[in-house]
Amino acid sequence: MTVHRTEAGVIILEGVCPVEDAEPLLQMLQRTPKAALDWTQCERMHTAVLQVILASGIAPIGRCGDTWVAQWVAPGLHKAAGD
């Protein structure tokens, strides 16, 4: 599983997150909408995964491991979450 939750309640995205990760990620966020999301280990994410993150309105922790997302998506995301 490339998306999992630590005992401390942090949701972690790891490696290449395929489309199938969108559903478990959504379920985790539905249960704990304020959970911290760590995407630093995520090498590449599918659009569906990104969509869930955007829809949740949370600002993930740290620099996204998916460099394209870090460069082009994350700045807007942090700004939106910070607003």
Binding site: L26, Q30, M45, L50, Q51, L54, A55, T67, Q71
Partner: protein
């Protein structure tokens, strides 16, 4: 190409042709419900088929055409020439795509964009029609930044916060289909591949529902981006989803002016990083070279504009290496070095601006003519060739049968062989005839593209012309049609350009304003007669004489000696043109002589009759099939001759020591037979070329009627399939030749009669 695709190609061509015919009828006779419905149905079917073979670009284009024709049918639009032109242009585009699809199995990269542009052009007619309720398609920004959609302005603002904005850019609006995840699409993956990305904004297409109600597998995203790469490279990325993406060129003046006072390399670095990112996307095999190419272009452009020139050079070299080795590694290395170097560059920039216009690579697929019968024509041709070879084999069998008769005459076995030979001969002859019949097509197929041609040319010339065709069911060989098409086009263009007067002139001459061109096909025995007639101004023999004397085609006394008919016949001379000025349509002085040589090459004749003020009629008299013979082209005594391949048993090169002299004659021993050597030049009474006595001699061994001779020639040039014409006119009584044929360069070639040569 699978069966489904093949069927699509055949069907699409048929639908396009029929829709075109009906469109012309629509224009000529007004929007009848029937014609409009027909076009509509054809477009609709075509759109559906395009959907099935997954050509979305074709679908969106046809959809727009369908809307337009629906407007015609409902009477909200008037079928004027502009609208008909637009729909025809759409069909032309679709027809071109069908050709490309047939040739390459896919549409060209820019098809999506072209289709969208075409659809917008078509829709503009709808929005111009005031009564029409259809919402206007969003217009492309044309002039100033004031007209740009706000999202583009926002993206530009994002760049201008960088110190150094680019010189040109393309805005990308990508709205993936809701169900795209189920198709295995990853929109983000496409965006990662966009070269030269300068700004990007991702948002929800519809505001996201509450987290508890979200369907994670329904895509609800919108991507907005700006790229400074070549538009072509961008549309290549989105080639599979043209219906979901829009590319909008940002006019240069809409981009903020470069601020040379505060040069910075941030943007260049951004572009380079983006390329590195794109190349690092794993699992890319199919379009790797395309990616390398676009990455090199984007990176080199950026570097040229804002970095020391040697960095761009290094990237280009890296790109060339990467392309050669089919791995991005060398390019990545070059990009890495460039990025390192940029960090150390003093902040002075060259003035060179980004975005030199690049010639758009038009991968012009040769427009394949409509060659499909029910069965592919190639298969039929193969069958025709096989039947032809069977005829040759049948002849060989006849020879063997005769030998059996000579040696075993009167025996049971000899009678059995003779009986079987007769049966086979009859069957082969019938088979050959039946196979040739397969290629027979009706004249209607030849005529079908002419209404469109005449309409377009007449419109271009502001003339009114009606076309009448007769004898559509006349049958002739497809190879005749293939060769007849071009001469016919020349004839029709000539009639339109030179023959038909403009409406005012016709009115003044007391003729109906609409001229008539008629094409009639008929059979006379085994000949095909085609008549092209117009009721135009006719040819004036005096004008022809004047032109001929100006062009020094003939001497004055020769011209005077011509009858009017002979003078008119001069229009077939090479380099003759009666139009006072050259035009696009015809009149380059190559038309009519090309017609005559084209027709004569297939064993036909052209005759022209014209009456001043009344009109002109051109009659083509053609064989209904092309009978081909295979010949060998040899050179001797400085001249070319043809020898029928049927008579040539082999060609050999022998050294002089193998040639022996018997009394006054020379001979050579081949396969234990003494074969006499005859110099072809001597035989044809031509001067013999001086040659090196020690050099090997080239011999063509000709065998016929039990005799064998080695003809010595200077060279063997070629082997050709030709249509042999019997010796005519002055040459009629000359012996030793089987006939003549025209070579590609217009030269007349004499083909030797092997049987007579051996006498």
């Amino acid at each position: 190409m699978n069966a489904l695709h093949e069927q699509f190609v055949t069907e699409a061509r048929d639908l396009i042709r029929r829709a075109t015919d009906q469109l012309i009828a629509l224009e000529r006779y007004g929007a009848s419900d029937e014609a409009a419905s027909y076009v509509l149905r054809a477009l609709h079917t075509l759109k559906g088929s395009a959907g099935i073979v997954e050509l979305p670009a074709m679908s969106i284009t046809l959809h727009a055409a369908e809307d337009l024709v629906a407007g015609l049918r409902e009477g909200t639009l008037v079928a004027d020439s502009d609208i008909i032109d637009a729909v025809m242009a759409c069909l032309d585009q679709v027809s071109h795509w069908v050709d490309e699809f047939e040739a390459a199995g896919v549409l060209p990269f820019q098809a999506g964009e072209d289709g969208r542009a075409m659809a917008e052009r078509l829709r503009s007619f709808l929005t111009n029609a005031a009564a029409d309720p259809v919402a206007p398609a969003s217009r492309e920004p044309a002039g100033s930044a004031g007209e740009l959609p706000s999202w583009i302005a926002r993206l530009i603002a994002a760049i201008s916060s960088m110190p150094e904005p680019p010189g040109h850019a393309t805005a990308i609006l990508y709205e993936p289909a809701v169900g795209c995840f189920y198709n295995g699409d990853d929109p983000l993956q496409l965006m990662r591949q966009v070269p030269g990305l300068a700004a990007c904004h991702i948002e929800a297409r519809e505001p996201f529902a509450a987290l508890s109600e979200i369907d994670p597998y329904a895509c609800n995203m919108r991507f907005q981006a700006l790229s400074i790469a070549e538009r072509e490279d961008i549309s290549r990325i989105f080639r599979l989803v043209p219906d979901q993406v829009r590319l909008i060129g940002i006019p240069r003046q809409a981009l903020p002016a470069a601020n040379a006072a505060q040069p910075s390399l941030a943007l260049v670095r951004n572009v380079l990083e983006a390329q590195r990112e794109m190349l690092n996307v794993p699992g890319r095999k199919a379009d790797l070279l395309g990616c390398i190419g676009s990455a090199v272009r984007a990176a080199a452009n950026a570097l040229r504009y804002g970095a020391p020139p040697e960095l761009a050079e290094a990237v280009l070299r890296g790109g060339a290496l990467a392309t050669a080795q089919q791995t991005p590694a060398p390019l990545l290395e070059a990009l890495e070095q460039a990025l390192t170097a940029l960090a150390a560059v003093p902040s002075t920039l060259s003035d060179t601006r980004l975005g030199q216009p690049q010639a758009r690579a038009t991968n012009e697929v040769e427009r394949a003519a409509d060659r499909v019968l029910r069965v592919g024509a190639a298969k039929v041709d193969a069958l025709v060739n096989l039947a032809g070879e069977l005829v040759v084999a049948k002849n060989a069998l006849a020879r063997s049968a005769r030998r059996v008769e000579q040696e075993l005459g009167g025996t049971e076995i000899s009678r059995a062989v003779e009986r079987d030979r007769e049966a086979i001969e009859r069957l082969v002859t019938e088979l050959h005839g039946a196979v040739l019949q397969l290629r027979m097509i009706e004249a209607a197929q030849l005529f079908r593209s002419f209404p469109r041609l005449i309409r377009d040319v007449a419109r271009q010339l502001d003339k009114k012309v009606a076309l009448v065709t007769r004898g559509e069911t006349t049958e002739f060989d497809k190879s005749i049609m293939d060769r007849l098409f071009e001469p016919m086009v020349h004839l029709l263009r000539n009639a339109l350009d030179h023959g038909i007067e403009n409406p005012e002139q016709r009115h003044a001459a007391g003729k109906p304003e609409t001229a008539t061109i008629s094409i009639a096909a008929s059979r006379a025995g085994d000949r095909l007669l085609i008549e092209v007639a117009d009721d135009g101004r006719g040819i004036d023999p005096a004008a022809i004489r004047k032109r001929a004397s100006e062009n020094r085609l003939l001497a004055p006394d020769e011209l005077d000696a011509l009858t009017d008919e002979q003078a008119i016949d001069l229009v077939f001379s090479a380099g003759f043109s009666t139009a006072p000025a050259l035009s696009d349509i015809s009149g380059r002085g190559i038309g009519m002589d090309a017609v005559r040589s084209g027709i004569e090459q297939m064993g036909g004749r052209v005759a022209l009759e014209s009456w001043k003020g009344i009109g002109t009629t051109v009659r083509l008299d053609l064989p209904t099939t092309v009978s081909m013979s295979r010949i060998m082209l040899v050179e001797t005594g400085g001249q070319l001759f043809g020898i029928s391949m049927d008579a040539v048993s082999e060609t050999v090169r022998v050294t002089p020591d193998r040639i022996s002299r018997v009394k006054k004659n020379y001979g050579v021993i081949l396969r234990e037979r003494v074969v006499p050597i005859v110099s072809l030049a001597e035989r044809m009474k031509l001067p013999e070329r001086a040659r090196d006595q020690a050099a090997p001699r080239l011999l063509v061994i000709v065998e016929s009627a039990g005799k064998i001779v080695a003809f010595e020639v200077d060279a063997i040039r070629d082997r050709l399939d030709v249509v042999l014409k019997p010796m005519q006119g002055l040459l009629e009584g000359v012996r030793g030749f089987a006939g003549t044929t025209l070579l590609g360069n217009g030269q007349v070639l004499l083909v030797l009669d092997a049987k007579e040569l051996l006498q």
